[in-house]
Symmetry: C2
Subunit: 457 residues, 2 copies
């Protein structure tokens, strides 16, 4: 079904002008989901433009499904009733971009095409991969690959997909599907394609302590008065060994499923480079400098982080008051088979053991995700990436969380393949974000190889 | 030299209308030292008004001495060259007051006279005691008590007296003196006068840690990246046992001089009430509920407090970033014979042992102060208070620090007596601050008894 490599490459190359105009149309709509007051209308406009693109591509069912917040766009390029269906997930919402404050060298809301590069907010996260997948589906249709390709484009990913789950109980929700393809992950380096076999989950919480109704003078009260900040510091020190990051909450590691030996070896040979990782993130030092240890730490192990302690004096210098209350903002990244609710319960029990009158407020969690590497869809994805890129893909994980993945797995009850097209240098959430035609064109090719394989499963 | 009690009381009562007009004149100048941009001119104006008051009272040497910041007013009601000199310290600067934000029931910058009460910012801290002392000196002069009374009124107490020390190297600085009387302390309760025999010192520091140049995504980096907040929490937990307040810095307690048994007994019988203390400070719970333990904690023992941890996310909810840097704002209250510089050095060594790349910035410290209870000036003060109030004074300490006390002791090389007139309910630094004629009139009487006694030493 797949024609010669040469013919395929020509067909993909011919799509480039249209690809660029479609990417431009989407990037130039500032669909910032984190700023609804300013951009809710842009998010809506972007969904309408995307639905129009699906319609023009032959998706007669293209529609916008309400979620209570940013809507989801659904539409299918159908082959026929007896063909299997793959559902492709991307998101159309983007991070904010402030040219002056963040130091963009170009207008973030104008697509700037320079050589192979496409600069603009959302170019790589996640509009470029979305348009690439759309082009793969259009060409698959021309090639009569027997597969229905259903697109599921949400607009709330950057805010944790609060309304996305409602799509699955909507009468206009997605059709049943045999598998899901998520294209919102990042390779380790340009040299080698990457397939992500897992995501970490998230268990966030606020730990609050109120010991008084107002500031106390540390001379008048100090010694007799409790200090909510030092007590919260003791709680934090009781929850995590700061130098190593080892979590000290009893039972925390009980459900951790260690990555297989094969997975660890695959991380070692993934092309992960300590220097590049450290430089890209601006880290002055690391808890380890070994590839094996770092990859296990960021992909295979859970964490406990404090993101801020609120309530004390924040100005210059010092104010000798004992504050009446304080709040530690913490989160734990989770790995299979840790469950956010259970972990939050263990945290609360441990905190109350340390400081009985502390309050622990669990915030909505995200479950970790792991794929079965022996699943036939994962195998098909590996073969497709190898065929398109001429290199075996690195099998890695993502240290972050994509809430929609677990939601889709739960509702669509099928394998989820994480095949991203982005590179570290593309700059997810960073100024001067870009995507490039090399990743787009090889991505379209890889998707086509994947479609061809899963159509025959 | 002192006439009958009845005659003295009449003379003091006759001063009341003038006392009130002088207090009004000072209170209605908003001499807020903590807000120099808005109030430096008011501080100056208040100093000029005070110098004029001294001049009108017969201090021919009344002058304003520059300090680089808020000036100091000096002037002497002289008896003669062969009389001893007492120097009376008060401060003319005040805390800020915002009627709306703080909930004042009256304009804080208008003196409201209601019965015996004088409402207004600075009424009790420290303008009321200053005018009381001035009236005592005027009446002492009428009575020909052989004593020179030199006033030393500074205008930077609320900001830690940064320039006050320059007064002593100024050609227009204070004359030599046999003793100093500081009237800026608070009784335990209205029922019993109090004499403070000590002040705690202060060793403030900033503990900084920078582990990166920018926020890191806690999914991408979490586990490998250091977290400066959790490391600072570990430092804090390594410096203080939060529930008990016991300081864990090696050597910290080495120089602590325990209060004498007599002093501890005196604190027990000082009239200190746990309920009133807890209610006044709005403390929901205390580290102890025993009078003996609380008074030792606030007057006789050093502390370690964290006033804020700066650098992490402070908004609502949670942001899952690992911050690049954080700063713990800490201070230690010190007791005799702890030295701020040595304590700051012990802190730095301990912190560096815990986190080698943390930075410890020592801020200007204040030495603790303790009086010799057997000193003849202290004895004279006890007798004077007993004579004026008909009750033996409680011998207590102040848990806070008055930087000027140690500075004066160092430069004037003489005993310093802490005889305050304020009551807990007067509301130091609080909204609806007031002073009252009862404390003013009995204070003038006590000062007169004191002058009479020390003139004869």
């Amino acid at each position: 079904m797949i024609p010669t490599a040469e013919a395929l490459r020509s067909r993909i190359a011919a799509s480039r002008p249209s690809f660029e105009e479609e990417l431009r149309a989407l990037v130039e709509i500032p669909s910032v989901s984190t700023q609804p007051a300013a951009h809710a209308a842009d998010v809506r406009k972007c969904a309408e433009k995307a639905a129009a693109l699906l319609g023009e591509s032959g998706a007669s069912d293209a529609r916008i499904v309400p979620t209570g917040g940013g809507p989801t766009v659904i539409g299918t390029l159908r082959h026929g009733a007896d063909a299997p269906t793959v559902t492709i997930y991307n998101h159309l919402d983007v991070q904010p971009a402030d040219r002056e404050a963040e130091g963009w060298q170009r207008d973030p809301w104008k697509l700037a095409i320079e050589g192979d590069r496409y600069y603009g907010r959302g170019a790589t996260d996640d509009k470029g991969p979305a348009v690439s997948a759309l082009w793969a589906a259009r060409i698959a249709r021309e090639l009569a690959i027997p597969l229905n390709v259903q697109f599921l484009w949400e607009t709330e990913e950057e805010i944790g997909s609060p309304g996305f789950e409602r799509v699955f109980s909507s009468p206009s929700g997605p059709a049943p599907t045999e598998s899901v393809l998520v294209s919102d992950t990042i390779w380790i380096s340009r040299e080698r394609p990457a397939l992500s076999l897992g995501l970490r989950g998230l268990a966030p919480a606020l730990i609050r302590l109120e010991t008084a109704t107002k500031d106390a003078h540390s001379g008048v009260a100090g010694g007799a008065a409790r200090n909510p900040i030092t007590e919260l510091c003791a709680v934090v020190a009781g929850c995590v060994d700061a130098p190593t990051g080892t979590v000290k909450i009893p039972g925390f590691y009980d459900d951790v499923r260690a990555p297989s030996q094969a997975e660890c070896e695959s991380w070692l040979s993934s092309g992960f480079q300590v220097d590049a990782f450290q430089r890209a993130l601006g880290l002055k030092s690391l808890r380890s400098t070994e590839v094996r240890e770092i990859t296990q730490r960021i992909w295979g192990r859970p964490t406990f982080e404090v993101h801020g302690i609120r309530g004390g004096y924040q100005g210059e210098g010092l104010k000798t008051a004992i504050p009446p209350r304080a709040e530690a903002k913490v989160s734990m990244r989770l790995v299979p088979d840790q469950a956010p609710a259970k972990i939050q319960e263990l945290l609360a029990r441990h905190v109350h053991g340390l400081v009985p009158d502390a309050e622990v407020v669990a915030l909505p969690g995200l479950e970790p995700y792991t794929a079965d590497p022996d699943d036939e869809y994962q195998k098909a994805a590996r073969e497709a990436l190898a065929a398109a890129h001429g290199a075996e893909p690195a099998l890695v994980r993502e240290g972050g969380s994509i809430g929609a993945v677990v939601t889709m797995q739960r509702h669509l009850r099928c394998p989820v393949v994480l095949m991203g097209l982005s590179l570290p240098e593309h700059g997810y959430h960073a100024p001067n974000e870009f995507f490039d035609w090399g990743q787009a064109s090889r991505g379209i090719l890889a998707f086509l190889h994947y479609f061809d394989r899963i159509a025959r499963l």
